[in-house]
Symmetry: C2
Subunit: 141 residues, 2 copies
């Protein structure tokens, strides 16, 4: 589960922050992960209608890249082979602490739409929140 990448990649630098940003440092990737991890979305259509107005081509590109990097996995629906669904991998799930820290930071300094109850949970029981997300995903799998 925590095994390192097998082949070295062509990173601009091997600073871990740089590597993280080469993988998820853009305007949209972590929103897609939010949709998968917190909103429990799994389809292209759900991501597209999620509220920030991501362009179709950008969403297609990001999903492809995330699958290639092993951050999410895609599968054809058992009921309808035309339907592809997405789920976070272990590596994707491990981005939840990054997402939580960004949420806490933004809510500290800006007026956000975050429900106060969720914010209290994130501030006081981060580990419990992460555990809940994990078990929900395991039940879905």
């Amino acid at each position: 589960m925590n095994s390192k990448a097998e082949k070295p990649c062509d990173w601009r630098s091997k600073c871990p922050l740089n590597i993280a940003l080469e993988l998820v440092g853009d305007r949209w990737t972590l929103l897609i992960l939010r949709d998968l991890l917190i909103k429990q979305f799994s389809s292209f259509k759900q991501f597209q209608e999620s509220g920030e107005g991501i362009a179709t081509n950008v969403l297609t590109d990001r999903l492809k890249k995330l699958v290639e990097c092993g951050i999410i996995a895609s599968e054809r629906s058992a009921e309808d082979a035309r339907v592809v669904t997405y789920r976070p991998t272990e590596r994707g799930l491990d981005l939840l602490p990054v997402i939580i820290e960004m949420i806490i930071w933004a809510d500290r300094y800006e007026e956000t739409a975050a429900p106060p109850k969720i914010m209290r949970r994130l501030l006081n029981d981060r580990e419990g929140f992460i555990r809940d997300v994990r078990s929900r995903l395991e039940r879905q799998a």
Copy 2:
């Protein structure tokens, strides 16, 4: 110190993660914060030579935006008025947990150049690490 923004901004959505990503969701912003917070850099030249090869115009643009958002502050050097130095504000300092979680995530899954001693500290004494960065910055101010 924790006061919310006075005027509402034109965010794509008020989801706190979205707001964080509109502010710092790009390839370079958090690397500049890393340089300020962890490497103790403060000049344009230092950021430019920091190892990831940021383009001059991108760096200029990011620094301007970060000052406008109140994430960093700029000042003219007392010795040489042509020299501008930058320092993180409280809001910028509060991005350190985001940076730490990204570092931990990348180092868990990729071969990075992070010194094992630093990684152990981040994993076992995150709060102490943050406290040290904060007091170093306060001493510099």
